[in-house]
Symmetry: C2
Subunit: 427 residues, 2 copies
Amino acid sequence: MTVEQTTTRADRAAPAAARQHTLRERNLQLVARAIFDAPVPLSRADVAGATGLTRATVSTLVDALVAARLVAELPPVAAQRAGRPGVPLAPAGRSVVGLGLEVNVDYLGVRVMDLTGAVVAQSVLEGSFHDSDPSEVLGRLGAIARDVVSGVVADGMVVAGAHLALPGLVDARTGRLEVAPNLGWSSLDPVPLLGLDALGRDPLGTDRPDPGGRPQVTVEVANEAKLAALAELAGDVPPSFLYVSGDVGIGAAIVVDRRLFLGERGWTGEIGHVVVDPAGPRCSCGAYGCLEQYAGKEAVLRAAGLAMDASVAALLDALRLDAVGTDAGADADGPRAAIRRAGRALGSALADFVNLVGVDTVVLGGLFTDLLPWLRDDVVAVLSERVLAAPFAELDVRGAGAGDHAALSGGAREVLREVLAHPAAWV
Amino acid sequence: MTVEQTTTRADRAAPAAARQHTLRERNLQLVARAIFDAPVPLSRADVAGATGLTRATVSTLVDALVAARLVAELPPVAAQRAGRPGVPLAPAGRSVVGLGLEVNVDYLGVRVMDLTGAVVAQSVLEGSFHDSDPSEVLGRLGAIARDVVSGVVADGMVVAGAHLALPGLVDARTGRLEVAPNLGWSSLDPVPLLGLDALGRDPLGTDRPDPGGRPQVTVEVANEAKLAALAELAGDVPPSFLYVSGDVGIGAAIVVDRRLFLGERGWTGEIGHVVVDPAGPRCSCGAYGCLEQYAGKEAVLRAAGLAMDASVAALLDALRLDAVGTDAGADADGPRAAIRRAGRALGSALADFVNLVGVDTVVLGGLFTDLLPWLRDDVVAVLSERVLAAPFAELDVRGAGAGDHAALSGGAREVLREVLAHPAAWV
């Protein structure tokens, strides 16, 4: 509804039903949010207190959310005062679930999360998908997803939707992948290649008519770093932060007030190609001296004298064993010198990011989470030198908290956030 | 109101008045927006058609907007069909006005704009405010503003508020100036220093009691580039763009869907301190190789062999007379070589800006508007090389359209935008 109605007599008759419908939707949102955001389970009376709605209204709406399996009633606890014991309300586990899917350079993954934030199923396949065939790889991911989904559906769960994470430029308006340099993919519409049409129908087979606009089960596509950033929201982060994910490529996301800032088409945070030194090495993108040439996984391994397919654990071992120590200068060889160059380059690109976007907290994910103890001092030193607001802002550089394959969690969470933003579609 | 109300019987009695009040406010907004956004004057019937409201409702609301002097009734035009002629409605001129104030390195300015977008009064004082005394300068600006305001008030206009533009880091939450390096100012609250308390009362002296929450006349403070960017919205720009203002310092703003993106505290767009070359000259900020050292006004004049206080016109003359021509290499001397180095540096910093923020249109303001014919090729060449999405996006580099002292217009416009966003406070 974009046109609001007055309450003059002439206008009143027609829109009354619509107005009531809208109010019910908003109140359902309010009640759902109160229950999902509460640190401890609330009773119906607590929800009334938290929302300002009457107890009668809250009871009706809670009953609807329980019937829709979005909210669960826990066993009653004795009230501290006389009267009926309160029934604690909590997010429903193993009922409505979200699906995270991902293709990355070295794995394919599927993760299913429920409304309590628990991972109820997942499957991750390690591999090398450098310069791979998109139909073959996405078809394989789709097959894994079908297996995982049929398991959770057999257990009585309903899949509300899916988000597919890809390490490249995804058009946020259309879901089209323009280019994923490290996969060697370009110009394709990934969703049909998953072969997941079956997910487009109600996986429970309860195909009821849908007057209320129950959302279809659809697959949305997003950049990997964007979804990984959203996974951080489950933990203890400030409402606004920059998220930078290090791997072979380096991606980033801008989160402001707990929502992604997406610019025009979602092509934000391409920090891997920020200029560190115009006299630097040529990048896979064609330009010179991009951050990826200093702090990307392959650049660090090469500079550290390790094999291109060495693991992060091997890099960490090499760092511990490097005799040069922390005094390694910029021209020294070996793992510690390599990591210090990476740290200074990362600090320089992050300073540009903070100066341009005006957000003071930087969360380092992917490879950088493990490397943080080795990177932090150089990153912080360069940030303090270069961020104009550094004297007035509390620059906060921290490791990511969402664990491995964070984009899978972020994708699944985003599906469930959409469910809770429009609970009326589920009741 | 953060808590929504249901329409159950128990809730209904108390909030009915509040609900009706809110609806009236929203409908006033709708009607005002229809009249102000229309390319040609609308009749009441046109407004009803455009908003979906009844004619009776529209008439009542239009009458209120006319009485509040936000909307003017133009002379009736004969209807094409039989019946009473329609009365065209338009933004009211010379009634409610906004005040733009600015301190910049080489001028102080005051500009008054009315709801039609016309400048109804202004005063600009050229000078040099490098390393100046903030109390003295802001006091002088305040005195100019009082003169200008008493003139417009004597002509029957009402000043709705003011925005003060400063070339530095302004905390968008508090209006405090943290630092303005080129003024030599730091850590101060500029508004009291203006001595404009008299503007805090109704300048018409009609001090009526104010149950409806009529906005107080207040002075808000913002970064100069942010307000200059908003001035572009009066012209033909896409809804999202990056605005970069070149002067001694180089500031920028991010506009998405016709609103400023302000990050956490408004400290966005500090492109003047983005890394162009870590081996470059030391900047006033303490870091090395910042964009300002290549494309700031003083850097360009110095590299062109001109005096530090040379005008832009003198620089343009020198460019036309430079015999080296457009083949000037990076190591050549003279104006053309200087401008080419500036163009490539600006392209590099803009590429970082576009890669990080994901907005494809760049509007070049201040000094860069006049220099655009000399800068454009190098800026576009570097952007095409370095912007990852360049093959899929239409990069658009254009000059600003808002004219001189654009931040004054942007500040005045922003006051009036706020009036139209809450017209109920004026009726």
